[in-house]
């Protein structure tokens, strides 16, 4: 069995997870990455997606995060999410609501750069909508 390391998932409202884990899959901006123990120190931003956490006990938990960043060290991994919820609590409705607010923001956005960023975010959210909630 692989060695365990500390994983923390924090949202502005609370600390969601703080446990010993063996493996974490993070939806980084440049693609999904799996973090194991003794990972090189890395800092990365994350996009909306699913974080898969494999606990030291073998149990697998899934969380849906909406943007943020991760701070990875050889002995620990801290994920600061803008907003995070256990995957089981996510429903199509809440996702739809988020998509709508982003849509509204795109319509208001002034600079093109901002608009592209938001559109990208929207695409990721829509994609998420497909995977998390089975149709």
């Amino acid at each position: 069995m692989a060695d365990a390391f500390n994983f923390e998932l924090v949202s502005p409202e609370r600390l969601l997870v703080s446990e010993k884990v063996t493996e974490v899959v993070i939806p980084a901006t440049l693609g999904e990455m799996t973090v194991l123990v003794n990972h090189a120190p890395t800092m990365t931003t994350i996009k909306p997606g699913v974080v898969t956490v494999k606990l030291a006990s073998g149990q697998v938990n899934k969380y849906v995060v909406f943007g943020g960043f991760a701070d990875i060290l050889p002995t620990s991994c801290t994920l600061l999410a803008e907003s995070a919820v256990p995957a089981s609590e996510v429903t199509r409705d809440t996702l739809q609501k988020r998509i709508e607010t982003i849509q509204a923001e795109i319509n208001k956005a002034q600079s093109d750069e901002h608009k592209t960023k938001l559109e990208q975010f929207l695409a990721e959210l829509t994609h998420l909508n497909g995977i998390v909630v089975p149709a």
């Binding site: 923390e8 924090v10 949202s11 502005p12 409202e13 609370r14 600390l15 980084a28 901006t29 440049l30 090189a40 120190p41 890395t42 800092m43 990365t44 931003t45 943020g68 960043f69 701070d71 801290t78 600061l80 803008e82 907003s83």
Partner: protein
């Protein structure tokens, strides 16, 4: 000298007031606990954010291309004061101490010939500051309808602040709120959020050293640009939570005092009521006895 009936009415009314203040104290105590928990739950995020940013900004120090949110616009002509107060009164000196601090600050800046813009969060601050700085208030946010303070609300305020900053409306932003120390002590605090300042220099040293070894994905610059606006929202969120806890703390002790004062008053009134009743009985007795003697 008030009559017996008057005294009786007054005792009844003070008792009613005492009941209200007692109930308010209890409600504040219950809400305080929740607000305090929320403030504590938010702490890990803010702390980690601060640590990461302190490291990043130390690595970026001296970089001419550093984002404006970090290095500032290079001027300090226009100041934005973000004043966070409560939605309601009846909380002792809570609102007035924040407002006083903000007002002093604004007057000092005005005396130096700077331009002051004010963004008020919360109804109370807006009402009072409107009187003396009507033309300085640029925006007003209220959370009257909001039951549970969430990150969404802080994000809303941060959005507005960043919008103003990106439009070049101000150079320096300072946040005013009450730091929660304990139930009986809340300290009105001013905190500069733009350009960002990171406290805790003792922790900044080691993180700065270790951050040199980090791999950044995407580039350091991009991460910093992504994090800094988020940091503004986090700082505001933390201030709002602290403020919320402070508000209930202040309200609880204010209502506790009011309840005690009402108790004192009831005792005093009851004493004079009894004394007067006794005097009247004595007077009536004297009348009866002297009437009987005259016969």
């Amino acid at each position: 000298m008030p009559s017996l009936k008057d005294l009786k009415n007054r005792i009844a009314s003070v008792k009613a007031t005492q009941k209200i203040t007692k109930a308010m104290k209890m409600v504040a105590a219950a809400k305080l606990r929740r607000a305090q928990e929320a403030a504590e739950a938010a702490r890990p995020y803010a702390e980690r954010m601060n640590k990461v940013l302190a490291g990043l900004s130390a690595a970026n120090a001296g970089n001419a291309e550093a984002p404006l949110l970090l290095s500032g616009t290079g001027k300090d002509q226009v100041h934005l004061l973000i004043v966070a107060t409560g939605e309601r009164g009846l909380a002792g000196g809570f609102n007035s101490s924040i407002i006083r601090l903000a007002r002093d600050h604004a007057q000092k800046l005005l005396a130096q010939g700077k331009t002051v813009k004010i963004l008020t969060v919360g109804r109370k601050g807006n009402e009072v500051l409107r009187r003396s700085f009507k033309e300085n208030i640029v925006h007003y946010v209220t959370f009257r309808e909001v039951k549970q303070l969430g990150f969404v609300q802080a994000d809303e305020v941060a959005h507005k602040v960043l919008e103003l900053f990106n439009a070049g409306e101000f150079d320096v932003a300072t946040l005013f709120f009450a730091r929660f120390q304990s139930v009986i002590s809340q300290v009105a605090t001013a905190q500069q959020i733009i350009p960002a300042k990171f406290g805790g220099d003792q922790s900044a040293e080691p993180t700065a050293a270790s951050s040199a070894l980090y791999e950044y994905e995407p580039s350091e610059q991009e991460i910093l640009e992504d994090l800094l606006p988020r940091n503004v929202a986090v700082q505001i969120f933390r201030a709002l939570l602290e403020n919320n806890a402070s508000f209930y703390g202040a309200q609880m002790s204010a209502m506790d005092n009011a309840t005690r004062n009402a108790g004192d008053m009831i005792n005093k009134l009851t004493l004079s009521y009894n004394r007067q009743r006794q005097a009247q009985i004595t007077k009536e007795l004297i009348e009866i006895i002297s009437g009987a003697e005259a016969l």
